[in-house]
Symmetry: C2
Subunit: 191 residues, 2 copies
């Protein structure tokens, strides 16, 4: 569990620089503007360093996304209800979608880039699997007549960067979250 050998300080510094450069490029241009050449140049490191740290373009974006969502994951795993275990399904579902929706609304460009990079291995992504398991559990309890596994995929499929960008405007910044919360609760059994 403990790291086998402490990471060298230059390695740590470079990893930070790379992540920071990636954020910056995402903020400037669109997600397609982030080539690894550019990231390396802006971070002031060589291209090889980027690949040694993150393995691939997909790995880099995944790492960034994971950093942004670690808090929500922790809250679900260890925190109190309604995010953590326990409490009524409806409240837990709303709380989860509120959290994930906020992350998505704040990182729509990153989300698009990640989708494109992970192309069709997105179902193997650890974060994806975590969200999916969580949703599946909630739907299995709250909507026993439907296909919970499918519903979990369906809800996650709506978290599309471009769709979110189109739905999110300054004067209604949470329309996406509100709509997906309405949709998800409509899928629960009516009492």
């Amino acid at each position: 569990m403990a790291q086998q050998r402490t990471e060298r300080v230059d390695a740590v510094r470079n990893r930070r620089a790379i992540l920071h450069a990636t954020e910056q490029l995402l903020a400037e241009g669109g997600g397609e503007h982030v080539s690894l050449d550019r990231v390396a140049a802006l971070a002031g490191v060589g291209k090889g360093t980027v690949f040694r740290r993150f393995g691939s373009r997909a790995g880099l974006l995944q790492a960034l996304l994971e950093e942004r969502s670690r808090g929500l994951r922790d809250a679900i795993t260890n925190g109190p209800p309604p995010l953590g275990h326990g409490g009524p399904v409806r409240e837990r579902l709303l709380a989860f979608l509120d959290g994930l929706g906020a992350i998505a609304e704040g990182n729509a460009v990153l989300l698009s880039a990640h989708e494109q990079a992970c192309a069709e291995d997105k179902y193997g992504d650890p974060s994806y699997q975590f969200w999916h398991r969580h949703l599946r559990t909630l739907f299995a309890e709250g909507s026993p007549d439907l296909d919970a596994d499918f519903l979990a995929h369906a809800v996650l499929a709506v978290f599309d960067g471009e769709l979110i960008r189109r739905m999110t405007s300054p004067d209604d910044p949470r329309r996406f979250t509100r709509s997906i919360q309405q949709m998800a609760t409509a899928l629960l059994d009516r009492d």
Copy 2:
């Protein structure tokens, strides 16, 4: 409306050859196996010809997909209920999803390739807009309390090539369609 000048026979022949070669490559390898170099070589034409006909990789896949879905579009626009206009919303929704689901299940690889190629202009695709308008109309009538525009996008977001491939097995070839029909009807107002 009539074509300005009849297309030359070699042009027609080559277009057919290109589409056919694309189908064949999609069937053989995965969607990422279809490079335009390969398509041109297999079709026995030059690369320039592929681009002159279809404009881009995205255009080529779009054309193929449109060919597969023209029947459904026609049936919705001009045919009798439940696909065409008229009749109860629930039946129209089920009929539409049955049709679109069948196309998707039969062309999952093409769907994946198209998603990747169109990247993030998929909301501008004429077919997408057609399906979206149709769904939005149905939800607006059948589910007036929810965000119909959003629901239409949400349902279409689930038509993901990779997801469909994972859900479709020989001994339950229509699980995807069945599940999305259940989901969609659950989103309609209960009577």
